[in-house]
Symmetry: C2
Subunit: 304 residues, 2 copies
């Protein structure tokens, strides 16, 4: 319904996962911004990284991100940062995600306004996903090649590493930040009833977009210490075109070659309602899915 | 989240499905009540009956139902009513259904306040489902035995037919009304790939609560004219205890005995979000369904 309020989701990543006080100080900037709400907070010291999921009105999400990134720039010193996860900046990545009654274009405009605010503080900005200015910058992995340490060497000399916003001048304490508009990610871990990690790796390869699998799907096979199963971890970058059921049923088919069954699954983070409904539609074999559309559920008539 | 607004659903049934002007005049009473929203309007002249689905704040749903029932009492004359569907009154049944942040007890209190308002107009009231005063009145079919015509004869003489509210005195023009608190119904039609209606009837019997099937499930097998399938129509009176997937998978198993497959399904009306999520949880084999709970979906963080 077009009279529903406009809601944007954001999942900023900060390069701090060890000092809880620093993370809390950054999160507080979001928490104190009216018309936003925090959905999920995760940080760990191996990655030395914090991932915050929040929603809010578009302008509020923009202002909360600017305030939180300013705080990160103040409290995080990238010249001293160590961690396993790829990263280039104190605020590493800030996506703007359409959640309700908002277009991708509106999110793209928010990302660019965020970029301008950060450039005023001297932080170089790269645009990714739907905001990318070149095909190779769509995927954040290509932007983060070489990490903070590599960027320091090449940003001022290699034209391929020229930022999209701001001068090609390195900011030692803050590094650089990636921002852009993108769809919500849907991440599902699928457990296979074997302790042989080779099965998970082979199944993952066959499901992954880069090796003959499903478009929009990235998959990785891993052993899980102390468990009697192995795991295929899946990231889905477009749940509208490639619903969850398709990846799960394809994993089931590929694992059957080894006589191995799916023994369970885990959603890794919050998901959009639509990504639940478009899979249930398949499993129920609905011929007219009208009543399974978001706007026709009883709960969605509440804007009166 | 307990700070969410309180929302009640109601699905009043009126004994008029032929004269659209009368139906619209009744519906207008609901439409003009602030803090309500109409979800669905259905009426047909075979049944000569109108079924309106709407949601709203508890007090608003009560007032809308009182206003609409007054209008029905004014415009419908039961002494002249003919129709195929069982019915005892101009306003035949008025359920109060918890939809969000409302308890069954609150809905029961609304039903009783509705009853008192109708009694003031001389309409006898029977309580059903969660509001029933005797086990045999839980099921509306037992209250409506004999229809309007039968009630006329027995209400004043048979103590078993004594109303729960109001005197045991017949109201010729308005008949009597059934009200009470109940859970939302979930109705799914399951299509079987055969034109042999016996298969649908046999499968329906095995799934139905009264003949060895699933509790909370009523099922009926029917032929569908002009189609290459038959249908098992299912009403589920408790989707929390008996989720949709269980009835669908049991129908699949019973139909397999005849070598017949499920070729499609249809939801008959609006369903609660929870009834979608608790079935998807099964099909995805989620071991930790936290992220599939209503309150953890991205869309449900919007009360800021």
């Amino acid at each position: 319904m077009s009279n529903k309020r406009k809601i944007v989701e954001s999942v900023p990543n900060y390069s701090e996962g060890t000092n809880g006080k620093v993370v809390e100080a950054i999160v507080d900037e979001i928490r104190q911004t009216p018309k936003t709400r925090i959905v999920d907070i995760q940080y760990d010291s191996d990655y030395n990284r914090a991932v915050i999921t929040f929603v809010g009105e578009p302008e509020a999400v923009l202002q909360a991100n600017i305030a939180a990134s300013k705080k990160a720039l103040e409290l995080i010193d990238m010249t001293k940062h160590k961690g396993q996860h790829p990263r280039i900046g104190a605020t590493d990545v800030v996506p703007f995600i359409p959640a309700q009654n908002v277009t991708m274009e509106e999110c793209d405009a928010l990302a660019k306004r965020y970029a301008e605010a950060m450039v005023d503080l001297g932080v170089p900005i790269y645009l990714y996903e739907e905001s990318a200015t070149k095909p190779e910058r769509k995927n954040i992995d290509n932007i983060r090649v070489g990490d903070y340490e590599g960027l320091r060497k090449t940003i001022e000399t290699n034209p391929d590493h020229k930022p999209d916003f701001g001068p090609a001048k390195f900011h030692p304490k803050g590094g650089a930040t990636v921002t852009g508009a993108r769809m919500a990610l849907v991440c599902l871990n699928i457990n296979l009833g074997t302790t042989n990690v080779k099965v998970a790796k082979r199944v993952a390869r066959r499901v992954h977009l880069a090796s003959g699998g499903l478009v929009n799907i990235k998959a990785m096979g891993t052993a899980i210490e102390g468990k009697d199963y192995v795991q295929v971890g899946i990231s889905n970058v477009n749940y509208k075109k490639t619903p969850m059921y398709r990846q799960l049923e394809l994993v089931r088919i590929e694992a059957a070659r080894y006589g191995v069954s799916v023994v369970g699954t885990e959603l890794v983070g919050p998901i959009p309602l639509e990504s639940a409904l478009n899979s249930l539609e398949y499993y129920l074999q609905l011929v007219n899915p009208k009543h399974l559309k978001e706007e026709n559920l009883i709960e969605h008539y509440f804007d009166f």
